[in-house]
Amino acid sequence: MKLNHYHITFTFAWVLGCIFFLLSCREAETGQAAIAQQNQVIIQQSTVNWEAAQQHALFNDSQLSKQQAQVLKIATLPLLLPNEPELIATGIMSAGEDWYAASMKHEGFSVVVSGSTRRVTVPGVEVPNLPEYRKQDLRVTRAEGIAELAFTAYGAIYTISVECEDPENDKHCKNESYILELANKLLRSKVNHD
């Protein structure tokens, strides 16, 4: 067959049509610049310093209901709870072997105190240090209106969060004094360790 410019033009149009078709059907990848790195994520388990924890002032365990105490018994880290009977009475406790959480409510706001001996680390990824449990070190932050502070004590990591129905105006969230007061009122329960 003798080729002329019509053949060439037409073949070119056909190829273009097919390319366009293929482009329309393929999965567009534009903008996908990132490739996930399956970095080695390590779950680090810290060791509890019970000797030091035993020096911590004790919580009055009679404030805990039988059910609350039963749940908290599972945890194998020092259980720090706020010395606030009214809050404790509303507490829903959850625990695993290496963590616990006490979820409490008050009119207009809620509090959760939690502790854990587990943390996620990645070799080469620098993680800032948390303050030790000493009054002067505690630093309050905000997370979407939720006041929060975290610290390390006796080998575990503890977090307190205070969340308000009116985060912009309620002093329990707006000011630092309430959460700091709670942190400084933490006492150690003996339900899981003498």
Binding site: F10, G17, G31, N39, E144, Y158, E168
Partner: protein, 241 residues
Amino acid sequence: MSIFISRIPDLLRLCASTLATRIAFLGLIGCFVSLIITGCQPKVSFNYKPPGELEPDSGQGRVDYTVYLGGMRFPLEQSPSYANSQVYGVGGLHGPAGSQCDERNYSYPWKDNYCETRTWDMPMCPSGKGHQGQDIRPLDCTDSVHWVVAVEDGTITHIGSYSVYLQGSSGIRHRYLHLNHDQLAVSAGQQVQKGQRIGLVSNNMGSVQTTIHLHFDMYSGGLYIPTYMSLVEAYKDLLDQ
């Protein structure tokens, strides 16, 4: 154009003239028919900006490609979902003028907003301050319709005015914010399985309203860890299902 139109009869004659041109002509027609059948729309699939690349002028992101929780279930039950900024997106406080429901907010690519400018402390961010998690819009701008689900097995440890905390079996605590708290499917102390429904995406921030979105963050060792690439991988898994 007029030259091209005047050549159409010639082209049509050419199409029928030889076997090769007939095949080419049919191929071309086939391509266009296929395009019509497939909606004549380029199929845009999931794509995303790299971690740390925030909306312009919204702060300095953290470049971290680590998938901190592999095998995680994507927190929204259905796709598509759109990870992007609420504050710097269309209709946001510092974003272009428009509605939060603007279609630009409901399109790819995803954009990281971990470490986006905030006034509060965030030691993991280059500036020391910033947003702790990732904002995600559901498939459309409808309130209290789209479910969020447990990203892994775990225990619901706390339900606040606009937050739900899930302590995962991995040791990571996941936080879901802005759900409709009148229609939660879980309660504090409850054990949940990966994929189990938790609540509906809403604009709840206590007495304040935010945009319709899920704020999702991951917390371990007293720090909010980068979420973006874990979400990207989880979303890819959801799309592959």
